[in-house]
Amino acid sequence: MDYFSILVVDDEVDFLETLVKRLQKRNIDTVGVTSGEKALETMVNKRFDVVILDIKMPGGMDGIETLREIKRHQPLAEVILLTGHGSVETSIEGMKMGAFDYLLKPIKLEDLMVKLGEAFEKKDLQEQKIRKARIKELIRFPGRVFQQEKEE
């Protein structure tokens, strides 16, 4: 997974640091930040395949707000929500806003890896679909390609 890059957002520093270290140890390009604001900052300069996002972060932006912003700036990035308590309402809201799935803390790394794999596959499929569509468009209506890309 050479080009597999992950952003972890969680206000629990101990958790964040350890998870980042463990993913990096598995040769996954991982960045950890402790707030939604920092996550958005980081995403300005770097493209991530998957974002692991804690829903409940007291102070500053909470998970749902952050998710909304992420989806605005990088619609193709898949988001896995993490939560300490399984509020169905929040999770469903998150799913409606385009989150890939949600996981309940505490999580085993193995489970997370499976979920990451699934998320990556989905993203890959999505990208391929978009590429194909773009190529088709390019062949049929050469003049409109630029415009359509912008709309996405």
Binding site: D14, G84, L104
Partner: protein, 553 residues
Amino acid sequence: MKERLYRSLQQKSIALTLVVSLAPLLILGATLYHQFENTCREKTREQISYRAQAQAEAIDLFLKERTAILNAMADTHTFQHMIDTQNLTRIFEVMNARAGAFVDLGIIDNTGTHRAYVGPYDLRGRNYIDQPWFNEVMIKGHYKSDVYMGFRQQPHFIIAVRRHENQQAWILRATIDPNRLEEIIRSARIGRTGDAYLVNRQGVFQTRSRFEGAVLSKANLDTRQFGGRITVIEMKDHTGEDCLYAGSWLNDNKWLLVINQQPLELLSRLFALRQMEMVIITLGVLGIVATTIFTTRLVINRLKRTDLEMIELNAQLVQSDKLAALGKMAAGVAHEINNPLAVILQKTGWMEDLLEEEDFQNCENLDEFQKSIAKIEEHVERARKVVHNMLGYARRMEPRQEDVDVNDTIQQTITLLENHARINNIDIQIDLADSIPIIASDQAQLQQVFLNLLNNAIDAIGSNGSIDVVSLREDDRIVVRIKDDGPGLSDEMIRKIFDPFYTTKEPGKGTGLGLWVSHSIMAKMGGNIHVKNNPDRGAIFTVEIPIVIPEKK
């Protein structure tokens, strides 16, 4: 304590009702009892007094009539004419034809010698100069005697009048049959005990008494008790009974007419009436007492039942409130615990990762480290499960709405447990009502509730027993009862059975969350779940599911 309250309430209510309803009845009864008797006694006195007066007037009239006739005869005939026996006989016949009751008639001259006589006795020639009445009539001009025997040895009395003729006085004298007096009086003898008679001032009978003696015998009566014209007195008669005596003086106060009567006899109809009144009042009292006790008991029992229902309802409300609060708290606690658990799990994972590195592979305690880490992870997992069960509640906040056949759900759940039950030799009996409609509800959640209850029932029985599952429709709810024949529940268990972490199973066997979650599910659905002991044996769990008709698609 409560029981005493009800009893005191019941007693007070009965007492008050009885006092209020019986008092007027009893007062009325007592008034009737006394007033009636007094009035009737008064009436009796009046009546007897009136009778005495009427009879006395009749006798007085009788005497006056006789006296008047004698006077008339004496005034209209001369002495010479009278002493002729033939003439006297004619006069005597006229007198008896006009008035009657004359026994004989005689003429006595101023020397006291009987000069002429008509009658059954031969009294001519007898001399009365020594008789006290002769002097009296000579002085006063008229005389009426008491009843006496005289020469003839027959009770009789006389009326004599004096006439002056040519400076000579003579006397016309007649004997009256006293039986005629009795005939007049007799009509005043009323009933079995009534009597009427005449006595003179000395208390000697002038007419025969019905009960107390013959003419001229002495009456057991003090005539001085009777003053004025009419007197009514009450005393014992010859039989010892209370008796009313009415006396009226007549014949220039020489004779006393006495009428006596036992008032009891006259009052007997009143007494019968009074007895009937008493019977009616007694029946009324009994009726009121019985009705009061009956209705009061009825009311108190209903009150008791309502109170009991209220208490039960309150207990259920308290239970629901408690569980709702616990649910909120549990969700909060779960979050606070899950975060540290997540950190611990990552840290141990990191340690495992590091132990994979070559530097540690030769460490002699590597095995111990790995074992310790595994143990930590195992216990984190255990804690996680507990928290997830609690979160299970929170996650089930919103039940889904799908078409659910409750009977079908019960069947499915029982199928899941059939093997488990059979192994423990537990028989599951099913009695499901046909009338149960398809409802909009959450089948998975209902199944979890049934599963929890059936599992608990099997655990409660242990082995060898039976479980009855009944479904039925009650108004707007479906009621499912799960009844086991296990040991039943203590009061404390019934109180706490739906609390989280309350379990009677061995440590590690149950989390104590099953019934709590079940209760929460049912509360969220708008239904209910409660438990009570079966009076025979075991416990009965009752699940109430609201009937929500699915929307047409």
